[in-house]
């Protein structure tokens, strides 16, 4: 668990972070969003003491981080950044094994851990272990960056726009992988991004910052439905907010049991989002879809009315 209590950071006369308070629970993915220079990266880097905070307190698992030696603290916290920061003169395997070696793990255990992580991130050992970072594609390099951050099995992971420099397709693929990984590993993750779709798709808790302060925080749906002010509303997509909400709401939430009426021809998977269901209706020129499970068996149906109207007030109450 990470707790920030009225944390402040000044650079000269400028206040970069102004008395922010924030709690990230164990196993939660917290996304910091905001315009450039709003203090989100500074906040992230104060957590592993790459930047020292001037005021307030930061606690990790109940202990103030100032009690730890900076290096010891950083070895306990995974760290992944946009430029990957891979060492160009080290092979992939050596890069991933960096923190375990800093922690003086025996060599055999480091090798074992590196191979385990490469498998976890879909990097075949025999193909990638001896490659150098310059020989990797952007997506592969970023996977290695994430593997390196996870190497010593830290409870906490800090990620500073880790997918920011990738093309949209690679980025989406890695987002899906990160979500699957997080479902398995249950790390406490603080994630800085300026890509709102990425934040909405990944975050359990969304924190909107502006000029060093937190404007609003909460679950993505809460923020989408009740933005605190015009800034949050426009940051979350302005008039597109409804569609963004549809993009993070699964079909099952608005699904109704199969009616006695004729089953619709067009079908949509149970795991799909309302956004995808809408797109399907638009494409097929229909108002009803059959919802199917993995075996393509109908389990319910969803209607345009169900998506846009009937469920909404109900959804708010929940």
């Amino acid at each position: 668990m990470i707790e920030l209590k009225s944390v402040t950071k000044r650079f000269g006369s400028e206040t970069a972070v102004d008395a922010i308070s924030l709690t990230v629970n164990r196993g939660e993915l917290c996304a910091l969003v905001g315009t450039s220079g709003c203090g989100k990266s500074t906040t992230l880097r104060m957590i592993n003491r790459l930047i020292e905070h001037d005021g307030g307190e930061i606690h990790i698992d109940g202990r103030p981080i100032r009690e730890f030696d900076g290096r010891v603290l950083r070895r306990r916290i995974g760290y992944a950044i946009q430029s990957t920061g891979l060492f160009p003169h080290w092979s992939v395997a050596r890069n991933i094994g960096l923190v375990p070696r800093l922690l003086k793990w025996p060599a055999a255990r480091v090798t074992e851990r590196v191979e385990e992580l490469m498998a976890l991130l879909g990097l075949p050992v025999e193909q990638f272990a001896d490659k150098y970072p310059a020989q990797l594609s952007g997506g592969q390099a970023q996977r290695v960056g994430v593997a390196r951050a996870l190497a010593a099995d830290p409870d906490i992971l800090l990620m500073d726009e880790p997918f920011g420099a990738l093309d949209p397709i690679t980025r989406e693929g890695l987002q899906v992988e990160l979500r699957d990984l997080q479902a398995r590993l249950q790390k406490t993750i603080v994630f800085v991004t300026h890509d709102m779709d990425e934040a909405l798709a990944l975050a359990d808790r969304l924190v909107v910052m502006k000029a060093g302060r937190i404007v609003q925080q909460g679950r993505p749906l809460e923020l989408l439905r009740a933005p605190a002010d015009a800034f949050v509303a426009s940051l979350l997509g302005g008039d597109d907010r409804g569609l963004k909400e549809a993009a993070i709401t699964p079909v099952v939430e608005r699904m109704r049991p199969l009616s006695p009426r004729l089953l619709p021809q067009a079908r949509i998977a149970r795991e799909a989002t309302l956004h995808q269901a809408l797109a399907m209706m638009f494409r097929e020129r229909v108002e009803r879809l059959a919802v199917v499970d993995d075996e393509d068996m109908p389990v319910g149906e969803i209607s345009l009315r169900g998506i846009v109207g009937a469920g909404l007030s109900e959804g708010r109450d929940r």
């Binding site: 790459l50 950083r74 950044i81 430029s83 160009p88 923190v99 800093l102 150098y132 970072p133 310059a134």
Partner: protein
């Protein structure tokens, strides 16, 4: 091979034709009865006879034929022909000496002519061109030069009358000493400037004020002409050695190795400091941030990340400095520092060009060798750092 004929190579025939022309119509060498009298120039045909001259041109014609239809095996043949021509070069001089030198005159000597030097130059260019075409690794090229060197050594036995050798005769000891002195001065100055330069570069990274001051000073030093710097050092060093006995016991005085060493050091510092400073500052910030973010200590970041990544650029500085120092040391002979420059200035004074060559050729060879060796080392390190993506398979 119909269908996929490679385009006609223009470099090889151009070089071959040029070589043919200069080889036949410029003097191959000259023969002089002694050191003072200017020699008589001989064209190739006059020196070895028409028939042999024609034979010597056959490999060049072969090169022309190969260039017409350039294939990989064609280029290999061309490489073999070029190496053959190179290996044969000294034999033509030996042949000329054998046929035209008067055995009654022990002082008679063979001078090397324009055709010979130019042929060496054209053949070197051909080697470079063929190496690129065949994508030969450096060590394989070096290996293929071994038979050439063997040929030269063999031919050298029949060339006691070569003017260069005549100048060397009786000076073997002085030549050895000069060579060692030259190497010592260069090695000492470069080694010292590496240590001192690294220290200065590190100090500069600590404070921008030191950086500005340091670069201003080193830039100023670089603008003083070398002869002037030797002169400027004369007075203070003479005074110091007169004042402190232990300095004069070390051999420090207004002239000699001490001012030469100091001047070389001064000139070497700028490229060394600049390259070291740029190398250390030029490491990608994201890499350093990640290193720190992973929990490396400052020392670990420096030793394991910053230094290895900076090393190729630092070595580049050593290369530039060393090549520069090899040349500058020649001038240091003027203030009695010894070294190969001694022969150059002696030769200039006596109007004996072959003596000048005796000093200049080893300097040239040294500079080329250092350049090639350190360049190869730098590329190797760069390669390991993965910065040259294209060459890693």
């Amino acid at each position: 091979m119909p269908g996929r004929e490679a385009p006609v190579n223009r470099v090889v025939p151009t070089l071959a034709v040029t070589a043919l022309v200069t080889w036949l119509w410029l003097p191959l060498g000259s023969i002089a009865p002694n050191r003072i009298v200017p020699g008589d120039a001989y064209l190739l045909a006059q020196a070895v006879g028409w028939s042999l001259a024609m034979v010597s041109c056959l490999p060049l014609l072969g090169l022309l034929a190969v260039a017409w239809r350039p294939t990989r095996s064609g280029y290999r043949v061309a490489l073999a022909l070029t190496l053959l021509l190179l290996a044969a070069l000294p034999f033509w001089l030996a042949l000329m000496a054998q046929q035209h030198l008067d055995p009654e005159l022990p002082q008679a000597r063979v001078g090397i002519g324009a055709a010979w030097w130019l042929m060496l130059f054209w053949l070197s260019l051909l080697l470079i061109e063929l190496r690129t075409r065949l994508a030969l690794a450096g060590w394989r090229l070096a290996l293929s030069l071994v038979p050439v060197l063997a040929g030269w050594w063999l031919a050298g036995k029949g060339l006691e009358s070569l003017a260069l050798r005549q100048e060397l005769a009786g000076r073997e000891e002085a030549f050895g000493e000069a060579l060692v002195q030259h190497l010592l001065l260069v090695g000492g100055a470069v080694g010292m400037s590496l240590l001192l330069g690294a220290a200065i570069a590190l100090a500069m990274r600590q404070s921008p004020r030191v950086e500005r001051l340091g670069f201003a000073l080193l830039n100023f030093l670089q603008t003083i002409p070398s002869l002037a710097l030797f002169g400027l050092l004369l007075a203070p060093l003479a005074w110091l050695s007169a004042r402190f006995d232990w300095l004069s016991a070390l051999g420090v005085s207004g002239i000699g190795w001490a001012p030469a060493f100091l001047a070389l050091l001064g000139y070497s510092l700028l490229p060394m400091v600049r390259n070291t400073f740029v190398a250390l500052s030029g490491v990608e910030p994201g890499v350093l941030e990640a290193a720190r973010g992973m929990g490396m200590s400052r020392g670990q970041v420096f030793r394991q990340v910053r230094l290895p990544l900076a090393l190729p650029v630092v070595l580049e500085g050593v290369r530039i400095t060393t090549v520069q120092a090899i040349g500058l040391t020649a001038v240091a002979a003027l203030i009695g520092a010894g070294g190969l420059g001694t022969f150059i200035f002696q030769g200039l004074g006596q109007a004996a060009m072959d003596l000048v060559l005796l000093g200049a050729l080893p300097i040239l060879a040294m500079a080329l060798a250092v350049d090639a060796l350190l360049g190869a080392l730098t590329r190797r390190l760069d390669h390991r750092a993965g910065q040259t993506t294209g060459t890693i398979e």
